[in-house]
C-alpha cells in the first residue's frame, strides 16, 4: 500500500503524509487522517468488486433468457447488494471523509479514541475478508436481505460465513459512530459551539446515533439466523414453530435506519459544497441541522413499510405508512434550504458543485418516488419490482455516491495537497449523470409494468427497457473509472494545491495547513464566527 502514496514528493513542510514512511507507519497509525486513507483505499476496492457484480447482472439482463445460470445470477445480485451496502455505502463517507475531517472541523488534534479508530478499520477489513472468502468459495444466494426460512433452511450456499463477515464489520460501524459522538461532545475547540458546527458534523452526528443504536440489532438478527441454521432453534422457520415474518421485522429494524446511515453523510457533504460554491451561508442552518436529527429519530419508526404485503396487520401498515410520509418532511426541508442557499449567491461550477447539482436533482427524484412506496395501495403493486430498485438506486447512487464523489473532489486538495484536472473531472461528472439516468430511469417504467426484482430470466416484453438500462450502466462505469485514473495521476503529478483553493470557510481550510500536519493545527484554533460566514459578517446573527 505504501508504494501507492507519493508522499515523498511533498517535502516542503512536515505533514501527515511525509512525517513517516513504511508500511508499519500506516498499518499501526493512530492518525485519523491516515486511517481515513486506509479506509479510502479499502472501500474503493470493495466498490469495484461490488461494481463488477453489477456488470455481470446487467450483462445477464441483456436478453430475456439470460447469459448465466439461474444460480449464478442469484449469487451476483446477492453479493452486489451485500458488498455495496455493508462494505461500501455504510462506511463510505463517514469512514473516509468523516474520519479525515471531523476532528479538523471541530478543531481537535484527533478523534477521541484514536486506537479504537484503528481497531474499527481492522474489524472492517476482517469482516470484508471473511465476506470475500465466502464469495471465493462459491458465494451466497439469499439476497442481501437474508430472508428466512430460505436463508435458514433452504439455501445451500455460504450463508453463515457471509453473515459472520457482515456481523464483524458491523462492529467497525458501531465503533466509528461512538468515536464521532464522543469527539463532537468533548473535543470542540474554544468558540466552536453547537450552533457553529459545520453541517457536515451535524449530519455525521446524526449518522453516528443510528450506527450506535441500530447496528447491534442486525448483529443479534444474524446471530439468531446462525442459531436457526446450525441448531434449528425454531425462531424463524414455521416448520420448527418459528415465524418467518419476525425475521423481516428484526432485519428492517436495522436496515431501514441503515438507509439513513447511507444518505445523511451525503446530505452533510452537499451542505458544505453548496455553501462554498454559492459563497453564502446555508439558508436555514438550524433547520438543516435539526432535520438530520429528525431523520435519525423518525428513521427508527418506519421499518414496517417493508412489510405491507408480508401479511402484517393492516392497521400496523397504516401506522407505518403515515410515519414514512413524516420522515420525508425533513429530507424535503434540506432540499428546499439548499436551493434557497443559491438564491442571490455567487455560484461557480467547479466539479464538486456539479456533483451537488446532480445530488439535488437525483435525490429529489429518489425521495419523491419514496412517497409512491409509502402510499399503501401503490406499494402493493410496485414493491419487489424494479420500481423499488430504481427508487433506492436514485437515493443510494444518485444521492450518496454523487455526494461521495463530490466530497472526494472537494477535499482532494486538502487530503493529497494537490489539484486534480478540473476539465476531466467536470467531464466525468457529466458522464456519471447521463449514465446514471439512462441506467435507472427505465427501471421505474419496468417496475410499474410489473417486472419483479431478482429475476434471472424475464418475459420478452421487458427487453427494450432492460437493454437501455445495460447501455446506461456501461456509460456509468466509464464515469466511475475515469476519476480513478485522473485522481491517481493527480496524487503523483498534479499541481500543488494552495492552502485554500476554493476560498472556503471552515477550520479545515482556514486554520489547518494543506495537507494537515499530524496533529492538524500548528496552534490551538479558536472559533470566532458562525459556520459559512462567507459574507464576513462581524456579529453573530440570530438564525431563523
Amino acid at each position: 500500500m505504501s508504494t501507492m502514496l507519493p508522499f515523498a514528493q511533498i517535502e516542503a513542510r512536515p505533514n501527515y503524509l511525509n512525517v513517516d514512511y513504511g508500511w508499519k507507519s500506516w498499518l499501526f497509525t493512530t492518525d485519523h487522517k491516515r486511517i481515513a486513507l486506509l479506509y479510502l483505499f479499502s472501500i474503493t476496492a470493495f466498490f469495484f468488486v461490488g461494481g463488477a457484480f453489477a456488470v455481470g447482472m446487467r450483462l445477464n439482463l441483456l436478453t430475456p433468457d439470460g447469459l448465466f445460470a439461474h444460480d449464478t445470477y442469484n449469487k451476483l445480485f446477492t453479493m452486489h447488494g451485500i458488498i455495496m451496502v455493508f462494505f461500501f455505502l455504510v462506511p463510505s463517507i463517514p469512514a473516509t471523509l468523516g474520519n479525515f475531517l471531523i476532528p479538523i472541523m471541530v478543531g481537535a488534534r484527533d478523534l477521541a479514541f484514536p486506537r479504537i479508530n484503528l481497531l474499527s478499520w481492522y474489524l472492517y477489513i476482517i469482516g470484508g475478508v471473511i465476506a470475500l472468502a465466502a464469495i471465493a468459495q462459491g458465494g451466497v444466494d439469499t439476497g442481501w436481505t437474508f430472508y428466512a426460512p430460505f436463508s435458514s433452511t433452504y439455501s445451500n450456499t455460504h450463508v453463515i460465513l457471509t453473515a459472520i463477515g457482515v456481523f464483524v464489520s458491523g462492529f467497525s460501524s458501531i465503533l466509528t459512530g461512538l468515536n464521532f459522538i464522543v469527539t463532537v461532545h468533548t473535543m470542540r475547540a474554544p468558540g466552536m459551539t453547537w450552533g457553529r458546527l459545520p453541517l457536515f458534523v451535524w449530519g455525521h452526528y446524526a449518522t453516528s446515533l443510528i450506527q450506535v443504536l441500530g447496528t447491534p440489532v442486525i448483529a443479534i438478527t444474524l446471530v439468531l439466523l446462525g442459531l436457526e441454521r446450525i441448531l434449528h432453534a425454531g425462531i424463524f422457520d414455521p416448520a420448527l414453530g418459528g415465524d418467518p415474518v419476525l425475521f423481516q421485522h428484526l432485519f428492517w429494524f436495522y436496515s431501514h435506519p441503515a438507509v439513513y446511515i447511507m444518505i445523511l453523510p451525503g446530505m452533510a457533504v452537499i451542505s458544505e459544497i453548496v455553501a462554498c460554491f454559492s459563497r453564502k451561508a446555508i439558508f436555514g442552518y438550524t433547520f438543516v441541522a435539526i432535520s438530520s436529527i429528525a431523520i435519525a429519530v423518525l428513521g427508527f419508526l418506519v421499518w414496517g413499510h417493508h412489510l405491507f404485503v408480508a401479511g402484517q396487520s393492516m392497521y400496523a401498515s397504516v401506522v407505518f405508512s403515515f410515519l414514512s410520509f413524516l420522515v420525508a418532511i425533513p429530507s424535503a426541508i434540506k432540499v428546499f434550504n439548499w436551493t434557497a442557499t443559491m438564491y442571490k449567491g455567487s455560484i461557480s461550477y467547479e466539479t464538486p458543485m456539479l456533483y451537488a447539482f446532480g445530488f439535488i436533482g437525483l435525490f429529489t427524484m429518489g425521495g419523491l418516488t419514496g412517497l409512491f412506496l409509502a402510499t399503501l395501495a401503490i406499494d402493493v403493486h410496485v414493491t419487489d419490482t424494479y420500481f423499488v430498485i430504481a427508487h433506492f438506486h436514485y437515493v443510494m447512487v444518485g444521492g450518496m455516491v454523487m455526494a461521495y464523489m463530490g466530497g472526494i473532489h472537494f477535499w482532494f486538495p486538502k487530503i493529497s495537497g494537490r489539484m486534480y484536472p478540473e476539465n476531466w473531472a467536470r467531464f466525468a461528472a457529466l458522464i456519471v449523470f447521463v449514465g446514471f439516468n439512462l441506467t435507472f430511469f427505465p427501471q421505474f417504467i419496468l417496475g410499474y409494468q410489473g417486472m419483479p426484482r431478482r429475476y434471472a430470466h424475464y418475459p420478452p416484453e421487458f427487453q427494450v427497457l432492460n437493454v437501455m438500462s445495460t447501455a446506461g450502466a456501461s456509460i456509468l462505469a466509464v464515469g466511475y473509472v475515469l476519476p480513478m485514473i485522473y485522481l491517481a495521476w493527480a496524487w503523483r503529478k498534479g499541481p500543488k494545491a494552495p492552502q485554500n483553493p476554493w476560498n472556503a470557510k471552515g477550520l479545515e481550510w482556514e486554520q489547518s495547513p494543506t495537507p494537515p500536519p499530524t496533529f492538524n493545527f500548528e496552534t490551538q484554533p479558536v472559533v470566532t464566527e458562525p459556520a459559512y460566514n462567507y459574507s464576513g459578517e462581524e456579529e453573530e446573527v440570530q438564525r431563523g
Binding site: 439461474h70 444466494d141 430472508y147 433452504y154 414455521p238 436555514g284 436551493t339 455567487s346 429529489t364 402493493v380
Partner: protein, 320 residues
Amino acid sequence: MGVFDIFPARASAAAGNVDALYAFLLVVGIGMTAIIFFFVFLFAVKYRRRNADDPAPRAIHGSLPLEIAWSVAPFLIMLVMFAWGAKLYFDNYTPPLRDTFDVYVTGKQWMWKVQYPTGQREINELHVPTGRPVKLILASEDVIHSFYIPAFRLKHDVVPGSYQTYWFEPTKPGRYRIFCAEYCGTNHSDMGGWVTVMDPHDFAEWLTGGTGGSMKEQGEKLFQQYGCVTCHVTDREGRSPSLLNIFGKPVVLDDGRTVLADEAYIRESILNPNAKIVKGYKRDIMPVFQGQINEEGLLQLMVYIKSLSPPVSAGKESSK
C-alpha cells in the same frame, strides 16, 4: 402492452383505482421535481459568478415563514396520498365475506399449484370468471413466495405456516401474467404462469370440464382418514366442538376472547389445536397435526369443513 407504456393492462376492479392514485402521485411528483429543477437551474444561471473576484454576496440566514410553508404544504399533500392509499389498501386487501369464488393456491419451489373446490387442479395456470369476486387462499409448502398479477395491481406474500388471502374482481377477459415476486431460490424467475380471465358462461363450461372427485369429496375422505369424524360429530354433545355452521361465525374461546372462524383459524386449530380452545372444551384432547398433513390436504379439509356451513341466503353483503 407497448414498451414504454406507463400503465400496463388493467384487468381487475382494483387496477383502475390504483392507476388513478398513481396518476395523482405522478402529477405531484413531476410537479415537485419541476419546481426544484426550475429554481436550481434559474439560480445557477442568474446568480453565476461572473468574475473570479466578485465580492461575496450578502448572507441570508433563513426565513421562519418560508420554513413553515415548505414543511406544512408538502405535509398536507402527503396526507391526501396517505389517506387515499390507506383507503384503497383496505378495499383491495379485505375480501368480501360472502359470495366469493374461492380457489386454493399452494406455492412451492418453483411452481404455483392451483385447485378448485370442484376438484380440478392446475399448475401455473389459473382460470377465473369476470363479474364476481374471486378469493385465493394462499399457502406455501416451503419458503416465502409472493403471488403477483400486475394486470390486477395486486400482490400478496405467501408465508409458510399461515394462510394469506388474495382477492380481486376480474373485469376484462384475457390472459395475464402471474409472477412470484418474493425471491425464493434458484428458479425464482421461472415461478410464474398465466391467469385466464373468462366471461362467466365460458368459465362455467370450463369448470364442468370434469375431474375425479371434487375438492370437498377429497377433503371428506381425509376427514375420515385422520379420524376427525370420531370427535367432531355434528351434534353439540361431542367431546369436541361441532363443525356445523361455524365457518365465518364468531367463536368464544375459553380465555374469553372471541375470534372469527376463518381459514386461518381453522388451519391453526387443525395443526395446533391447543392454541385456541373453544369455551367449554378441554385442551389436549385432539392430537397435534403439525407436520402430519401437507398443504394441499389441508386445503381439501378446509373446503370440506366450509361445506358444513351452508352459504347464507344468496346475500349480496360484502365486508365493505
